[in-house]
């Protein structure tokens, strides 16, 4: 059977964008393989309307598994059992922390191969192949599967395609393994720090570890203020984890995805986990003292230098220009 199974991450009644993009991509590739895209949702609150969020983007069938959301093991047990019962050859994940964990466990359980960080799917010789950028995105590698294959996409790799279709929804009772019983989710999605909005900003000044201290965010604040209305300040995971900035302002794989007119990185190295959250920015300006920082590989304008000297001077220059 040439159907592709896609894992959908649903939280509080909403399936995330990555999963919906993965379903759309699977529908496209499955049609070339002569099959369909099916999806599986795991959670204790998955009703028909949640399932139909995937029907609307290309899934012809949605399996619902009544088990705890937020823990990989329950989902990987269910997916491995579904692959076994339904004979799927390929399982696709939209990315994200759980996508990697579940995907890797499923690959091991079904004796398949796995490709992570995939950005393109294609069909070659009647089989699915996955392309993955490697070595800091300087080379594309193509994965060919000998048997069953698992693909974990890079965050935001696939576009959502609203087809307006609907899916058949069916419950799947999956046996949970002993390992699943060893894990208890105590707190899911705790927000820390102020609730700030960075997704609507036209100009986003982002602070990274290079700022040095939490207090130095004043440099980013001043630059954003100089740009005026429509600007905001964001941060990288490293500084959020260090407690310098609220989680709500984090850009990247486990934070927000932004696409401002102008992204300014102050002391941001530009690791792939950050890049996937801001790569759709129209213009990227980077200031970093490390000339080898990956951000210089995708910045439109990059300055190798001390942000503590340059950013305040830039703030003054913008203020003067704006009068």
């Amino acid at each position: 059977m040439a159907n592709i199974l896609v894992y959908g991450l649903a939280h509080e009644g909403t399936v995330n964008k990555n999963s919906r993009g993965a379903v759309s991509e699977a529908a496209k590739v499955a049609s070339q393989l002569g099959g369909e895209a099916h999806a599986v949702l795991v959670g204790t609150d998955i009703n028909d309307s949640v399932a139909q969020q995937l029907g609307a983007v290309g899934a012809s069938k949605v399996w619902t598994v009544n088990a705890a959301e937020g823990v990989a093991q329950t989902a990987s047990d269910a997916i491995a059992a579904l692959v076994e019962a339904q004979g799927y050859d390929y399982v696709l994940f939209g990315g994200g922390l759980l996508g990697f964990e579940i995907g890797a466990a499923v690959a091991a359980a079904i004796g398949g191969g796995i490709t992570v960080e995939a950005t393109e799917l294609a069909v070659d010789g009647g089989k699915l192949v996955a392309k993955r950028p490697i070595f800091g995105d300087t080379l594309l590698s193509t994965s060919h599967y000998k048997g069953k294959g698992v693909i974990v996409a890079r965050t935001n790799a696939f576009e959502v395609n609203e087809t307006g279709g609907s899916a058949t929804v069916e419950a799947f009772d999956a046996p949970a393994s002993a390992a699943a019983g060893q894990v208890t989710l105590k707190v899911r999605g705790e927000q820390r720090g102020a609730d700030i909005n960075i997704e609507d900003a036209q100009i986003l000044v982002t602070g990274g570890r290079g700022l040095g201290t939490a207090e130095n965010f004043s440099v980013a604040d001043a630059l954003a203020a100089a740009f005026g209305s429509g600007s905001a300040v964001g941060a990288t995971r490293a500084v959020v984890d260090a407690g310098w900035f609220p989680y709500a302002g984090q850009v990247g794989q486990t934070g927000k995805t932004v696409a401002p007119k102008l992204y300014v990185g102050l002391g941001v190295s530009g690791a792939i986990q950050h890049k996937v959250g801001m790569q759709s920015s129209e213009n990227v300006l980077a200031i970093n003292k490390d000339e080898n920082a990956p951000i210089f590989e995708f910045a439109d304008f990059g300055v190798v230098g001390d942000l503590h000297k340059i950013a305040p001077a830039l703030t003054e220059a913008i203020k003067a220009k704006k009068g």
Partner: protein
């Protein structure tokens, strides 16, 4: 309890990474202990220092003979002994096959806790921990930034898709440690010298009881080939700040050209 830390030798960050004529990562240049693994070693040492009843910390690696230097580096960061699986037949293993071999090595030791770094600097699959967990029938959790142990219950914290998650895990388990979990200390000169005297168990596949048919190129379910350059993106302008006034002038001119100020 026994803690096993999985470590890996990777090409040094300064070495330009390329694909060799055999279609695998060219590993001939300068090599180093995978930076992320130092976070796992530090986490093991910190659990011990926090009063957990840790009988020993064992560093485990799979790799060619040259990897013994990185393994020694791992021992100098707090391991009591080490295990080195080296066999020409294991070269070319994908992440599932590597995870299978690691799981077989772990079964010989039956540790209560397996720690590893969140990611490797070379292949960067972020996946081996979950593969190992699946083969062991143990839960695997990644991106862990905080670990607290009370008896056989590990309380973990990590940043996940919707904010911070807190989880409780009953051991045994496999935990991938995030680089935000700690600041690894540099080993002292004494620890570096002492590492050479700590026991190393060297194994090949047969010695470790690993099925050679399940590893290497033949035992891998995925083959990576057809390497090509990605679609070219117009290169940006990169300048080095020598005179800040002139630098700022250039930035403003660029912003102006893009109608951003």
């Amino acid at each position: 309890m026994k803690i096993l830390v999985l470590v890996k030798e990777v090409p040094d960050a300064a070495v330009e990474k390329t694909i060799g004529s055999d279609g695998r990562i060219d590993r001939s240049g300068e090599k180093t202990l995978n930076p992320s693994d130092t976070n796992a070693l530090e986490a093991a040492v910190q659990l011990k220092e926090a009063g957990a009843d840790v009988s020993e910390i064992v560093a485990v690696t799979v790799g060619p003979d040259s990897a013994s230097r990185s393994l020694q580096g791992a021992v100098s960061r707090g391991a009591d002994r080490s295990i080195h699986l080296s066999d020409p037949a294991i070269a070319g293993s994908d992440v599932v096959a590597t995870g299978y071999a690691l799981a077989e090595l772990i079964k010989r030791e039956s540790p209560e806790l397996v720690l590893l770094g969140q990611q490797s600097d070379d292949a960067g699959c972020y996946a081996v921990g979950s593969v190992v967990g699946q083969f062991l029938g143990q839960p695997a959790l990644s991106q862990v930034s905080k670990l607290e142990l009370a008896g056989t219950t590990l309380t973990l914290e990590r940043q996940a898709e919707y904010g911070y998650d807190t989880l409780e895990v009953t051991l045994p388990a496999v935990i991938s440690v995030s680089d935000s979990a700690n600041e690894p200390r540099y080993p002292s000169l004494k620890a570096i010298m002492g590492a050479k005297k700590k026991p190393v168990e060297k194994l090949d596949l047969a010695g470790a009881g690993i099925d050679a048919g399940k590893v290497g190129t033949a035992g891998s379910g995925v083959e990576c080939k057809d390497f090509q350059a990605p679609a070219a993106k117009s290169a940006g302008t990169i300048i080095t700040d020598e005179d800040t006034a002139a630098t700022v002038e250039q930035i403003v001119a660029w912003l102006d050209s893009r109608k951003l100020v």
